[in-house]
């Protein structure tokens, strides 16, 4: 599984990528939407984990643009705040597969990733 992590908090995506790497998952990371779009032009990814609020192109628009470029790619949103109702409404609106609330546990993230890839 190849994963792209996008969050403006570099230390967060860097650490998360290393932890996924330890578990045998190849993860690349970037801190902004433009770089994410460049990366998916150059490399293949199965799944992207996006922060909802990132500088420049926000996570919601970035998801739309990435989905257009890579229709088979799966998406998980990470967000700082929100309720299950917000997430349900957000999922219906954006078509994002999952929302996870920060701080995310690695087991929860892996579980959602595996669930998505096996869909």
């Amino acid at each position: 599984m190849r994963v792209l992590l996008v969050d403006d908090e570099q230390e967060l995506v860097e650490t998360l990528a290393e932890r996924l790497g330890i578990r045998g998952i190849e993860a690349r990371w970037t801190t902004n939407g433009d770089a994410a779009l460049e990366l998916i032009d150059q490399e293949d990814f199965d799944l992207a984990v996006l922060d909802v609020k990132i500088p420049g192109i926000n996570g919601i628009n970035l998801h739309k643009m990435m989905k257009e470029k890579c229709p088979r790619m799966k998406f998980i949103f990470m967000t700082g705040h929100g309720s299950q109702d917000d997430f349900a409404a957000g999922s219906a609106e954006t078509g994002v597969d999952y929302y996870l609330l920060k701080p995310v546990t690695i087991d929860e993230l892996l579980h959602k990733m595996n669930e998505l890839m096996n869909k």
Partner: protein, 227 residues
Amino acid sequence: MADHNSMGIASELQFFGKMTASISHEIKNVIAIINESAGLLEDYSLMAEKGIPVDPARLKTVSERISSQIKRADGITKNLNNLAHSVDEFHKSVGIKETLELAVGLAQRLADMRSITLELKPPSDLSTVITSPFHLQNLIWQILDFAMDVSGDGKTVGLTFETGKASVKIRFTGLEGLRGLSETAFPTEKEKVLLQVLRATIHEDVEAREINLILPKDMDQQSSANI
């Protein structure tokens, strides 16, 4: 149209809500980084238990990361505390430099979201004004919000101040996209109410690409005057 009083209260709550929401998002990010860093240390210890060598330099990096995030959280909560205490007194002597430092600290994340750099360049001047600290923070934010919209390709907003005899001029500089306040909806009624409360005035200098906020040194003693 809402009267000035209800508009003022709504504006105050909106400002407070905007700032505290932004701060809570930032705190969540700090928690998330500390959480992942703690998880990574746990991963390293599990690896070591299995006999997989762990580079001590990696442990040091993670430990430094946690320390820097704790310092960051300390700064964020100090700003939150200062904002909370800004409503303690309606009239208070406040340092302009400290006021601008707090304003930039509060606006930093919102500026980052817009890919805009805030440059605080205060003089080594210990000027104070007697004012309403909370209303002043609110007004500075409203001007900063507009200034970021008109920062143009430079995507940088500078903040500095100059002290005159009876007033202090806070300058919002580097506004490459500024076309003149008369051509925009700014200041809106919201800012006009705040200007009235603080007995302050706002001026543009399109040629210099800046907006100036003129505050009286004592909002109870006199109206603002140009310096």
